[in-house]
């Protein structure tokens, strides 16, 4: 195509899109006027008047919707970062077991991975919540009051976690760890076999060789995979609503049910996740740069 033809074609596309969006937004306006809702954010300052079991900052039902949303946002962050940490550790252990020499460990870890990956996360979360916690007796584990696990949740050294939070963390961590394990395994496999042979021939122990030779070379292949798993984890944390944990999505859902402000809440939700994505991607990019620059493991 010639230059002016290309520009003409692109202008047509833009015009068509404007028409489509105009049509949709026109419908939306008509529908909002018809239902007497309109579009504004002033309701954010009205009292939320619903209770939240879980809040990192002080909260009461007389606080505003905006405050409730902030609490939900903090609840989400709490779940995401704790699960991120746990799933990474679990994933590394399982990934290494899968590439290691112990055959029993290999079998168990591949069994773990297939079970976790081939069943829906939502089902797993319900399992952890309804069977894993609510199914427990009152005094399932009570270890001299230091560690208590029962149908109320987990209490550890005075730190008490609700059963919803615990089930969500365990479910998300277990699910994500199976994917992280595969990322780790892929990274280790990507290192050529000659590298293993050469560190062995230098007399390095298996552990030293793994830490000083193999993992530094596997990291460039691992980091992007890890990033996308962390992003998935963040998105998956919205399934909290299924087991009654009040994360950002669940609170948006409650507000929509109370006020009918579906469009506004949806916009808030999208913005939240845009920010969250940027946060995680930037964090991982920093880590990636750090690794590439300093080769800190050498």
């Amino acid at each position: 195509m010639k230059g002016d033809k290309i520009i003409f074609f692109q202008i047509i596309i833009i015009l068509l899109l404007i028409c489509l969006f105009g049509f949709l937004i026109n419908n939306l306006i008509i529908n909002l006027i018809r239902t007497d809702l309109g579009f504004n954010f002033s309701w954010l300052l009205k009292p939320a008047s619903f209770a939240l079991a879980e809040h990192a900052l002080p909260y009461s039902p007389s606080d505003s919707y905006a405050w409730a949303l902030l609490i939900g946002w903090l609840n989400s962050l709490k779940v995401i970062f704790v699960s991120l940490f746990l799933s990474t550790i679990l994933g590394i252990i399982i990934g290494l077991s899968r590439t290691g020499n112990n055959v029993l460990l290999k079998i168990i870890s591949s069994f773990y991975i297939t079970i976790i990956r081939q069943t829906p996360l939502l089902l797993q979360l319900m399992f952890w919540y309804f069977v894993g916690f609510l199914g427990l007796k009152n005094n399932f584990i009570n270890f001299t009051n230091l560690l208590k696990i029962n149908n109320q949740g987990i209490e550890f050294l005075g730190l008490s976690l609700t059963s919803e939070f615990s089930a969500l963390i365990i479910g998300l961590s277990v699910f994500t760890s199976a994917f992280i394990a595969e990322v780790i395994r892929g990274g280790i496999i990507s290192v050529p076999k000659g590298q293993w042979e050469s560190f062995r021939s230098l007399g390095l122990s298996e552990r030293n060789g793994l830490i000083r030779v193999i993992i530094p070379q596997a990291l460039p292949a691992i980091i992007p995979g890890l990033t996308s798993q962390y992003l998935n984890l963040a998105k998956n944390s919205t399934l909290a609503i299924a087991i009654g944990y009040s994360d950002i999505y669940a609170i948006n859902d409650t507000i929509i049910n109370q006020t009918g402000r579906a469009i506004e809440c949806f916009i808030i939700l999208l913005l939240t996740f845009l920010i969250l994505n940027l946060l995680i991607t930037n964090l991982m990019e920093t880590i990636n740069k750090f690794i590439n620059k300093k080769n800190f493991l050498y």
């Binding site: 692109q10 460990l105 939502l122 089902l123 199914g135």
Partner: protein, 337 residues
Amino acid sequence: MHTKKIKKYIKKIREILFFNSLNNFLTILLIFTIFLLSLQSFSWFIFNSKWSVVTTNIPLFAFGTFPESQRWRPITWIISLLLISVLSIIPPKWKWLRKNLLIAWIGMIPLGIFLLYGGLGLQSVMSRNFGGLTLTILLTICSSIFALPIGIGLAFCRQSSLFVVKKLSSIYIDSMRAVPLIAVLFFGQLLIPLFLPLGLEIDRVWRAIFAFTLFVSAYIAEDIRGGLQAIPNTQIESAKSLGLNQLQIIRFILIPQSLQIALPALTNQAIGLFQNTSLMSILGLVELLGIGRSILANPKFIGQYIEVYIWLASVYWIICTILALMAKYLEKRLKIA
């Protein structure tokens, strides 16, 4: 003779299980744990489990509340789906059938709609009576058949030299991938009606399919783009030197090769989609997991979580594993090709 064999086995076991002190400890610990766990689950299985919650509800799990006399319709549809999948993976000798497989796959959607909704001589069934595995499969099949061509189109648009086309598709793909699926499904269920003109209504099942298609096509687009980037430039050059034009190069060289390269990733998308249809149980459709939830809410079966969850997990696991195995086989066959 026998002692020699036994010695050989012992040596082998030592090599793979007890080769240093850490592994000695790990192996013994694992064997002990596995033993305890299997003992526990075995005794639960024999003495405490009550499987009637599953066995009496099999029709519900399979068809939802589809009228009993009409159950042959979803069965026919699912069998024809199975048949055509097998034909796609093990290619038949007849060339005409191989050429028309694509059309047959697309034809599965109208066939499904006809068989499930009825009309044209069949008793009509409301979509609120769809449920169970039938609904799960309907959601998965329709969304993936719609999402694949859209995803391919988006991938090419993102590689386009036209600035506007490239930017718009990038924005679409990136923002879809940033948002949780449940938000998109929520959009499909609650917000789409707000964007439609008065009087125009879309069935809930189709709103779900629409939302899944929007979501999955963005992921497929990225997988295809990965495949496109893996095709060496020399392939395009040799196609050009044969006089093929741009559209022909896309159709005969780029699409088939990128699909082949992206096949493992696309399989994961399909498996993910199949599992993710379970999210609709939160948004009011009674697909497989939704049926499980509504059965558990029935006072007659109260508290029998473990049986229902094990049953559901096995169904999902078996279907996903079969999908994965079929894709592996197809991959192998294409590698020779």
